[in-house]
Symmetry: C2
């Protein structure tokens, strides 16, 4: 007997590069000025990235010698996330640079199992997202060293290597290593054919660009019609602030795109169970494709009740903290669509785990994207899923939002409603140095000028999340 | 009609103090040197506090002019938590100092509903604990201004004021404001009598001091016998590393304390479902009072399966992220004991919410304590529960660990196995300035000397959490 780790490809030790630095940047874009990204819970986001560059001695100054990753946030607190990434330095700097599945499995475990840092989650929130950024930067580096786009780098690993990447702790009541191996082996024979089809046709996308709450009806209708003309078969609207408004906007959108284009709606965690059931029962005549984030991302039982209580299919995941919560959403039959996010959980390894869980339960994965660089990252995971895990793109779509791509060196290419398969080596995570310099908070030139004006978003008093629209407190008659 | 907020006591506006500063300290105690606090998941904790002082202009230099609070951590990452507390400064400094239930309700909502900071949880992990520290500091200040210990300050509020303190978002499928009001009104008539009994007799405690995994059998037996001699009716042992070890230690402990003393056991999230069921079935003949944290704190369905699958009662909560997860543990009948923690959720307000949820479902609350100052804080919440919420101390005990109390200005007093009701004004949260100065990391004298030696805990490579003891990866025969 020998463990699978012995079968991993290892480069000769003499050539092994080391990690020399973990560089962290607080980058923020003043998106609140245009209301891009506005929804029922997030009225004024400044899309931001706690951005990490993993530097190595694998070739002086060469692009392949670095790995890039980031946590996406919406403004205030991006500095806290940056501090969390810095706290992981001791696990990375001065160590051998990760190149193989075994290296990337070990790094993921070390970052998520540090017993002192784990106390700050465990496996959730700022510290977990920070681990994810470093894990993803390591994958970016390893894929660049291999000279392959990440989706292909992953899809060419053996089922045994992929299983080694998964942390099965807390999963055995839903998914065992043997079951994961069986899923991956079943998909192995078709890999080459699907990779060819993916390169030829691209992966299906949908667009959220028309649907932000802050947009006027005219802007929404115009963008929805443009989306259909551009070849998208699905769009998404934000809902949840006012039911009458949502009914009007949903009607206008349905009239604009016709009966055959799917319209998903997204409440961004706005409701309790009864309110979600009431609201979606009212919107159901306009045939919403799914209701996304109807309630708290922690509330497995509420999602199950909402799914059972009204006719619209349920999607969630962009704020689901980790694989344990995803596991329960599947066990409780609480969702119809699994929405992974590339920068919320602990990186590629945990997302591979969630892809395997979804495959076990037979549910489609429709990744969350948008924000800063989330489209760039998550396309690789969906394409890998198609080639080597689920083997299907039926009922699957990657979210697409058309902003901030200009800051990335390898931006997504979406044509005729489909993501083209990336060909550049790595995880498409690299932001241009000029963008990093310009939007560093608070010292980049884009912020220095804004912060000199009074009332600028991140330092101004916060906009609280809107209160529940149903009265939350008992009222008394004055007698 | 008028809303309840109009009935709150408001001081004359002319005398209203303001918050002048939010001061944050990174305080760490080198507890890993003695293996105090060692368990199956946390082999080498350095008990720490991200400590906050809320300063006001309510009297120059007077103790009552400040509020103190903290997040408890176990070492690395305490600086990340301190950064998270600092990010809340804009919600507090320069604002009126909170004095009334209405003020404290508004502050709690503002801190937890900041739409940009909420993205970092939502309502979990570093950012949520940071909000809790500031909320608790505000309560410490308000209780000091009122000249009352926190438990009494809370227990003298009207049911209407207490309901106003609760954020009911995501709770309406389990607890409505009307139900909360009914619970509090039902307990109102007995308040004075129970407060008198509490002052006379104290609140029941149990002790974890004998049970740390790093202790020798001899030390464990000696401490267990001393605990019984000191009047404790319950002790707790850490388990989960090796079943044979646990069987031996459990047998020795049972022999040492006899059949009538309760022995709880605590696995600190070590197991998956099947392993927990197997392990606790094996320990059951020694009559464990409860199994605490058998698995991931996020795993509601696994707790329910473990509770159903073996005979020992289930307790959890110290790592439960928020009220939404507690709600589901109750809805799913996943636990027998609800273990609140004073510094994990968003402060007094969210813990009041959890007390009300437990009362609604008829389950006893047995607070987690230990760490740095957790005994000091949580005693107030349990005593308030007894006086004004559940109205009972039947089957209820507060954890007690006998270390680090010497750093607190109003340390807990535990006599004959019971916590004496605090009489000093405030939340007992105040650490001596000398302790803060000595243990500040990394610049306090206690750390400067240690960090000058090589290999000191917080800067040394981390000890990863032990891997699951069952083989997690498939093995193959070498053919």
């Amino acid at each position: 007997m020998f463990t699978l780790a012995h079968r991993f490809r290892e480069p000769p030790l003499s050539k092994r590069p080391s990690v020399t630095e973990l560089e962290v940047h607080d980058i923020r874009f003043p998106t609140s000025e245009q209301l891009d990204g506005s929804d029922a819970m997030n009225p004024d986001p400044d899309y931001s990235a706690a951005y990490v560059v993993l530097r190595t001695d694998a070739g002086e100054g060469a692009a392949a010698a670095e790995g890039h990753g980031f946590v996406f946030t919406i403004g205030r607190g991006n500095d806290v996330t940056a501090a969390a990434i810095r706290s992981l330095r001791l696990h990375v700097v001065g160590r051998p640079a990760p190149l193989t599945a075994a290296d990337l499995a070990a790094l993921h475990r070390e970052l998520t199992h540090d017993s002192q840092l784990r106390w700050l989650g465990p496996e959730k929130g700022v510290m977990h997202m920070a681990a994810g950024a470093v894990v993803n930067a390591a994958w970016d580096f390893a894929a660049r060293q291999a000279g392959k786009p990440l989706w292909q780098f992953l899809a060419e690993m053996s089922p045994e290597e992929l299983v080694e990447l998964v942390d099965f702790r807390y999963l055995s009541d839903a998914l065992t290593p043997e079951e994961a191996l069986a899923i991956l082996r079943a998909a192995e024979p078709g890999r080459a054919e699907r990779a060819a089809r993916l390169r030829e046709r691209g992966y299906p996308a949908y667009t959220t660009s028309p649907g932000w709450l802050g947009y006027s009806d005219e802007k929404m209708i115009k963008l929805a019609q443009e989306a259909v003309a551009d070849g998208f078969g699905q769009i998404k609207l934000k809902v949840g602030a006012e039911l009458d408004e949502d009914l009007r906007r949903m009607r206008l959108a349905r009239e604009a795109v016709g009966p055959d284009v799917r319209i998903a709606v997204d409440a961004n965690q706005r409701w309790d169970v009864a309110e979600a059931v009431r609201w979606m029962s009212a919107l159901a005549p306009y045939d919403p494709h799914w209701i996304e984030e109807p309630t708290s991302p922690d509330d497995i039982l509420a999602h199950a009740a909402i799914r059972a209580g009204q006719p619209v299919k349920v999607a969630t995941g962009e704020h689901v903290a980790n694989r344990v919560v995803f596991k329960q959403l599947l066990q409780a039959e609480a969702v119809d669509f699994v929405q992974i996010d590339a920068a919320r959980v602990a990186g590629v390894n945990e997302n591979l785990t969630i892809l395997l869980l979804a495959a076990k339960y037979g549910l489609p994965v429709c990744p969350h994207a948008g924000g800063v660089g989330l489209c760039e990252l998550v396309q690789h995971l969906a394409m890998f899923d198609y080639v080597a895990v689920s083997g299907s793109w039926e009922d699957r779509v990657i979210e697409y939002v058309d902003h901030l791509h200009e800051h990335f060196a390898d931006p997504v290419v979406v044509e005729s409603g489909r993501y083209r398969a990336p060909t550049a080596p790595g995880f498409s995570a690299r932001m241009y140095p000029e963008s990093i310099a310009a939007y560093r908070y608070p010292d980049g030139p884009e912020w220095r000028t804004r912060l000199a004006r009074p009332g600028t978003a991140p330092s101004a008093p916060a906009q609280p999340v809107p209160a529940p629209s149903a009265p939350a407190q008992p009222q008394e008659d004055h007698q």
